[in-house]
């Protein structure tokens, strides 16, 4: 079998190479354990038991435990963006529609669920003591900020102080969404996605009265 064919097979194979599959299994198992037991309760023994692999596997694929945890953070970040992207691409071209899509995404079951927020806040709690996690938190935040700002600055055009208005709207929306996540994290059963969405739209309608109303309806 020629070399290019072998590489081709690797590309089109339905099940990825075992090495990659095992690596992925470890990442997913680690995410599961973190979601259930937090960072402090996550040990390599628990992870490999969950993954159904042997203990040595971890150090075959990752330099150490910290590298494994960092990979989980990267995995979560990637999944967040991938899911958000679906909502954005389904939305219309106007700023209002993009903003509505962003908020709908951040409150959707695909993105905002107990499994995900448990992991997210577990990492955040330990972020201060490990700078590696902060990097991912920061890049996520900065990209999100840009996305919101780009949409808001267009709505703010013509107002008295567009930059300040767009900045305030961006920071406010992100803070409000973040606060809603915390609310969901602390009271997942009481939480109502529709109410959360309405409150965020009320905030947006307060700043851009000609663009939104409190029901999330987009005005002309």
């Amino acid at each position: 079998m020629s070399q290019w064919r072998k590489e081709m097979d690797d590309l089109i194979t339905e099940t990825p190479a075992k090495k990659i599959r095992h690596r992925d299994m470890l990442v997913r198992a680690t995410a599961d354990i973190i979601s259930e037991s937090g960072i402090a309760g996550t040990s390599i023994t628990k992870v490999v038991e969950r993954a159904g692999l042997s203990r040595g596997m971890v150090h075959l694929h990752f330099e150490n435990k910290a590298a494994l945890l960092l990979e989980v953070a990267r995995h979560m970040s990637d999944e967040y963006y991938a899911r958000q992207k679906v909502f954005i691409s389904d939305a219309g071209p106007t700023s209002q529609e993009k903003l509505a899509a962003l908020i709908t995404a951040d409150l959707s079951e695909e993105i905002l669920n107990q499994y995900t927020v448990n992991i997210w806040y577990a990492f955040r709690g330990e972020a201060r003591s490990d700078n590696g996690f902060m990097a991912y938190s920061d890049t996520r935040d900065e990209a999100l900020y840009e996305t919101y700002y780009d949409a808001y600055i267009k709505l703010a055009a013509g107002s008295e102080n567009p930059q300040v208005l767009a900045r305030d709207a961006t920071r406010g929306t992100i803070a409000l969404t973040e606060g809603m996540w915390v609310d969901f994290f602390l009271h997942p059963l009481k939480f109502n996605r529709g109410t959360a969405k309405r409150i965020i739209f009320r905030f947006m309608a307060g700043l851009f009265q000609t663009a939104f109303n409190q029901d999330g309806a987009i005005l002309t």
Copy 2:
């Protein structure tokens, strides 16, 4: 010395009984370690070294490590309320003034600082796996909710749907403040208290246009 006098001395003594002092030293030392190293990095050895006490002290004052951590959570919660109370009692009698005082308090250096938020988010990260912490988070949240709601419901009087408006305003303000805390936690150097305050007031002004404006000025 008579019995009542002895008790009186205990009450008025400047330095509290040694047993209580040591207990307090452990709680404060634990809080310090959590703030620096997170929950996962907090061990009894580190705590007693910081407190300058022997290892056995912990189990003399607390049933186990979990009880010590829970006491730290209680301590943090108590200090939060004590400091918030100062701001509220200094405020005027109107609902607007009370709300302004609450927001000013939550953004003040006394309440919102790196030491405090590190501890707060460290606990939150491990909250899911230990229900003891959730209880304090919940009681704090419920009391805060009531305080905000009582103020907002008066402002909402006369509006079309007062209860819904007051509920939305309460949840929104708490979520917004929570989000600002997260912003401070992740970017303590970039964070600007004035900007945060202005954004929150813009939200309030959007819901109660006759009561606030975006500069935090209270309208008649």
